[in-house]
């Protein structure tokens, strides 16, 4: 038996053989034949046997040789099946259980509320499963493919790892546009069987629709809220029309423009426009301020004149004289006065002197 065993040199294999031969021949035979057991030769034969037996048990149960020695019996390596009544093999039973379980699992389907499932009977589409618990024929005959149909999927274009693609507007300007397309599955069977790559198709259709729609607008329109709303609406309709023509089974829920900016290369010029707008507004505001001021002053002066004139009309001469004297008083009270009495005398006017004096007298006034 040792010769037949390709792993014959292993301890476990030898032990078995020796176990049979040792019993009659005693420890003499065991010593040299088993160099892996140093204690075997020196100790008592009883102890040696016991020890070799325990190692044998270990190998039998855990070692690689264990299962093989049992001669192909059923059950795992560390597990011995209880005897089946009638002494028959467990193999068919286990096979039936495994296959039965598999068949059962592949024929019970729980479709979640957001999902639908398509059933293919031998490859041919037979029906769509709505949410709930469903039974189908087991796997090779019927297969079920479940998909989230309620969930709205969002695609960002350009994707975050992509470089911004400039889009040409109708007036041959370029705009840096990024947008999101939201869609979900309208008809799962169409979605599954009509298009080779529905998700890629959505992206391409979106790009084509967006470029076509932006090309219908001027650059300025793409920046305004109104223009954007129109573009979004048109892209959505265009996409839906195209996808329906493909029979894609996809519902485009919405298209949102996230950003519409001038290209980076010319952004300064665009900023300058808004600066110019602010400058113009500032100039207008200043002018309005001036206007307010001027008008208020005019109104005030006119009002004041009116009031005085009213009084003047009641007593013209007196008022006139009063005003004259009052003004003269105010003026002359604050100024230097020289009165030249004599006729025909040319007075010497010490003008520098007067100025010096006045400067000393009133340092505040210059």
């Amino acid at each position: 038996m040792a010769g037949k065993n390709p792993w014959g040199s292993s301890g476990g294999g030898d032990d078995t053989d020796r176990g049979g031969e040792d019993s009659p021949s005693g420890e003499k035979g065991g010593g040299p034949r088993n160099p892996w057991l140093p204690g075997g030769g020196n100790d008592g034969s009883g102890e040696g046997k016991r020890r070799s037996a325990s190692i044998e048990d270990i190998f039998k149960n855990r070692g690689p040789e264990g299962p093989r020695r049992r001669g192909g019996g059923p059950g795992g390596p560390n597990f011995r099946m209880p005897q089946r009544p009638g002494g028959k093999s467990w193999g068919p039973v286990i096979a039936v259980v495994v296959i039965g379980g598999f068949l059962l699992l592949s024929s019970v389907h729980l479709v979640e509320p957001r999902e639908q499932g398509v059933v293919k009977t031998l490859g041919s589409y037979s029906r769509t499963l709505d949410p709930g618990l469903h039974f189908t024929l087991p796997y090779p005959i019927e297969s079920v493919d479940k998909e989230d149909v309620q969930g709205v999927r969002a695609v960002n274009i350009p994707a975050s790892n992509q470089r911004a693609k400039l889009i040409l507007t109708g007036d041959q300007n370029l705009v840096d546009l990024s947008y999101t397309v939201r869609w979900n599955i309208k008809d799962l069977a169409d979605f599954k069987f009509e298009l080779a790559d529905p998700i890629e198709t959505v992206n391409e259709v979106a790009e084509a629709a967006m470029r076509a729609s932006v090309a219908e607008k001027t650059l300025d329109e793409t920046f305004t809220g109104q223009g954007r709303a129109e573009i979004q609406q048109r892209v959505r309709l265009r996409m839906q029309e195209t996808l329906d023509a493909y029979g894609a089974g996809i519902d485009v829920r919405g298209v949102e423009i996230a950003k519409a900016d001038p290209p980076g290369e010319v952004v300064d010029a665009f900023r300058d426009v808004s600066v110019a707008e602010q400058n113009a507004d500032a100039a207008r505001n200043e002018a309005r301020g001036y206007a307010q001021q001027t008008l208020s002053r005019a109104e005030g002066e006119a009002e004041a004149f009116d009031k005085v004139y009213e009084q003047y009309r009641l007593a013209p001469e007196v008022t006139r004289q009063r005003l004259y004297y009052e003004t003269m008083e105010r003026v002359l009270a604050q100024t230097d006065k020289t009165i030249v009495e004599a006729e025909g005398v040319t007075p010497y006017l010490p003008l520098p002197e007067i100025q010096r004096r006045s400067r000393q007298g009133a340092p505040g006034g210059q």
Binding site: G170, E207, A215, V266, A269, A283, T335
Partner: protein, 278 residues
């Protein structure tokens, strides 16, 4: 056991052969594919073709004699490379289009193009040239916008005619991108956008200045009207009244004004009473 085997040996053998034959001859056609059954290199029938009566499901063939060619039944895409198209006003535009097609005649397809990739290879240059030809008749502006619809319909029709030879039907052709080519065209577009904005900014500033002037002038005019209305009631009195204000403004001492000195003659109107004359 032995007795059963010897008794029913032939039955077992026949059953076994039958089973093997069944496995060899049965095949499943999926919903998304169509099948051409080929016998000695010659297509004999099709399964699950668009418009055909034999649908997907479990099918049988003569084992070993008939072989299967599976062909996609779904809508396939044909992607075009970026192509520079010259408009009839000599402007360059980088165009990228795609076509969607479907194999409607798998037998022709298998015979002439072998597989769907072969169809793609055959159609791509046709798509490119059809598109170039069709767009090249248009102005740059028309390439971008309005006429795009009819141009694409023509391209689709052209491409479809060619595709029929390969058993394919072109469903749709769409321009995915129209870009200005890198380099000079792109730079000149940027330059134009820039100057456009500069002009706009200048216009806005000038408008601001103009508006400001108008507002000021209007205010001045209105003020003049108010003055005239008020002062026009009595020109003589206004002259006097305004003179009084003006004297006070001119001669009275105040912040930032020069000193005034008067040399008065006793004949002065103000000093009239000073002399006691009447």
């Amino acid at each position: 056991m032995d007795s059963i085997w010897t008794k029913y040996r032939w039955a077992f053998v026949i059953a076994g052969i039958g089973l093997v034959a069944l496995f060899l001859s049965a095949y499943v056609v999926n919903e998304e594919e169509q099948v051409v059954v080929v016998q000695a290199g010659k297509p004999v029938r099709t399964v699950n073709t668009p418009g055909g009566d034999s649908g997907a499901g479990l099918k049988f063939r003569v084992p070993l004699v008939e072989s299967l060619r599976r062909v996609d039944k779904r809508v396939l895409d044909l992607e075009m490379r970026d192509e520079e198209v010259l408009s009839n006003d000599q402007q360059r535009l980088l165009v990228n289009a795609y076509a969607r097609f479907r194999i409607v005649d798998p037998v022709t397809m298998v015979e002439r193009a072998n597989n769907t990739d072969g169809v793609r290879r055959a159609l791509e240059p046709i798509l490119n040239s059809a598109l170039r030809q069709e767009l090249g008749r248009r102005t740059f502006q028309a390439m971008l916008t309005a006429e795009r619809g009819t141009a694409l319909a023509n391209v689709r029709a052209n491409l479809d005619r060619e595709a029929r030879q390969y058993g394919a039907e072109v469903i749709d052709v769409q321009i995915k991108r129209t870009d200005l080519p890198e380099g000079a065209p792109l730079q000149s577009a940027f330059r134009r956008m820039e100057t456009d904005r500069e002009r706009e900014a200048r216009t806005i500033r000038a408008q601001g200045t103009r508006d400001a002037r108008i507002i000021r002038a209007e205010a001045d005019a209105e003020a003049a009207r108010i003055y005239a209305e008020a002062f026009g009631k009595d020109q003589d009195f206004y002259d006097f009244y305004r003179a009084m204000q003006s004297y006070e403004q001119s001669f009275a001492r105040g912040e930032g004004r020069g000193e005034s000195s008067f040399i008065l003659s006793p004949d002065n109107e103000y000093l009239r009473q000073f002399r006691g004359r009447r």
